[in-house]
């Protein structure tokens, strides 16, 4: 499996799980399906970018840092979206989003990628 595919898989899965934590917030429960889908899309976008980075750079610390940055940026974009209540939950969205990005970066860098085929005679 390629690193981009791993990043997409991990990003999407963690995005779903992260979105499902909205269930613990009573006022967010009615919108949970939309939150989970949005979180999954955010995870997939982060996965594409982190996977692309992992193809270029082979470094665990750099991968984690890049994932953290991407997670933070995308979470900021979500948190900054206009809300009906007018309130923005920057900290509540950006902290977990950044850590999820770091986890995707870690998992992607740890994956060694497809094994090159041996040359035959």
């Amino acid at each position: 499996m390629s690193r981009v595919a791993v990043a997409l898989l991990v990003g999407g899965t963690l995005g779903i799980l992260d979105g499902m934590t909205a269930w613990f917030t009573p006022e967010a429960r009615p919108q949970i399906v939309g939150i989970v889908i949005g979180s999954m899309i955010k995870g997939l976008i982060a996965g594409v970018l982190i996977g692309w980075f992992a193809k270029k750079v082979n470094s665990l610390p750099a991968g984690i840092a890049f994932g953290l940055g991407i997670g933070l940026l995308l979470a900021f974009a979500v948190a900054a979206m206009p809300q009906p209540s007018g309130k923005h939950y920057y900290f509540e969205i950006m902290l977990p989003g950044a850590i999820v990005g770091a986890i995707v970066g870690y998992a992607t860098q740890k994956h060694r990628g497809p094994v090159p085929a041996k040359a035959g005679i």
Binding site: T21, F24, T25, A28, L60, I64, Y89, F91, E92, L95, P96, I99, V100, A102, I103, Y106, A107, K110
Partner: protein, 316 residues
């Protein structure tokens, strides 16, 4: 009559021992080291304009010459980055046999180990040694004298196994014998049965007993175990101690069956995986897995703690 002092006598003796390279393509540069059988000199190959090592017998002796030629023959069949390559064999004007090889520069393993190197780096050096020895085994050659003095670490980190003078060629099929019975290849200077060869402390018990017939690849496994124990020093992790212990079992049947199996265990140790020589309980296994994946566990813990704090303090 003038009496010569000791220093002059030593210089004279050295000058007499120096090989006369006239009639060869080599020019003497100086001695590099000496062993029980001969001396290695740095020489210049005047045809190719490069420095090479020249090993020569200290005395003209038929048995020693046969051994030197045998060592050259063995080196010639072992083309591996971890084994010093042979260039040429020949005879000097005084009748002594010689061979030339790559001039190995760097430091011996005992000198290298005298300085502070992290454990993983030492283990990677060990794996390079094991790789060269496993290659020789695959070519039917046992080293039989693996010890720190016979390993060189080059300036670019290359690891070379030296001194194949005591090597033993195992039974192997004669080339061209299609599936026929194994035939023992004998080289000139093969050591006879009952001859004790090797270095105490690094030599397998069956080798010490002088039974050349019973010595197989597991004798080198023993020596590599002793080398590993020596290389990692005092207080290595229990799993690493277990690897060395298993390799140094008294009975060959209790040791690793091959150098490759032994090296695989060291590699597993380096990767933080379970090693076959060290059965571990559930708690120890959990601790090892946690240590191996500490970054991932740390990130997940940070996420959970972050989520918990958000719920606790903001209710979102």
């Amino acid at each position: 009559m003038t009496r010569l002092d000791d220093a002059t006598l030593v210089r004279l003796r050295d000058a007499l021992r120096e090989p006369d390279l006239s009639g060869t393509r080599y020019r003497l540069l100086g001695p590099v080291g000496s062993g029980g059988m001969g001396t290695v000199y740095a020489v210049e190959d005047t045809e190719l304009g490069r420095r090479v090592g020249l090993k020569i017998l200290d005395l003209e002796d038929a048995e020693a010459e046969a051994r030197l030629r045998r060592e050259a023959t063995i080196l010639a069949r072992l083309e591996h980055p971890g084994i010093v390559p042979l260039h040429d064999v020949g005879r000097l004007i005084d009748g002594r046999a010689f061979y030339t090889m790559k001039l190995v520069q760097g430091e011996r393993l005992d000198q290298y180990a005298g300085r502070q190197h992290p454990l993983p780096e030492r283990l990677r050096v060990f794996l390079r040694i094991a790789e060269a020895v496993a290659f020789a085994h695959a070519r039917g050659v046992l080293h039989r004298d693996l010890k720190p003095q016979n390993v060189m670490i080059g300036p670019f980190g290359e690891v070379l196994v030296l001194d194949w003078g005591l090597a033993k060629v195992l039974d192997e099929p004669r080339p061209g014998a299609n599936g026929g019975a194994a035939t023992r290849l004998r080289l000139p200077g093969d050591t006879g049965e009952g001859t004790v060869l090797g270095t105490p402390g690094f030599m397998a018990p069956e080798q010490q007993a002088g039974g050349s017939a019973g010595v197989d690849a597991r004798a080198d496994v023993f020596s590599l175990g002793a080398l590993l124990q020596w290389l990692v020093g005092e207080g290595p992790p229990a799993a690493l101690r277990a690897i060395a212990r298993k390799a140094m079992e008294q009975l060959p049947g209790d040791r690793y069956p091959s150098v490759a199996a032994q090296a695989a265990d060291v590699e597993r140790f380096l990767d933080g995986a379970a090693v076959s020589a060290y059965p571990e309980g559930l708690l120890r296994r959990a601790a090892r897995v946690a240590a191996r994946h500490r970054v991932a566990l740390g990130l997940v813990a940070a996420y959970l703690v972050g989520r918990g704090m958000i719920l606790l303090f903001t209710g979102h």
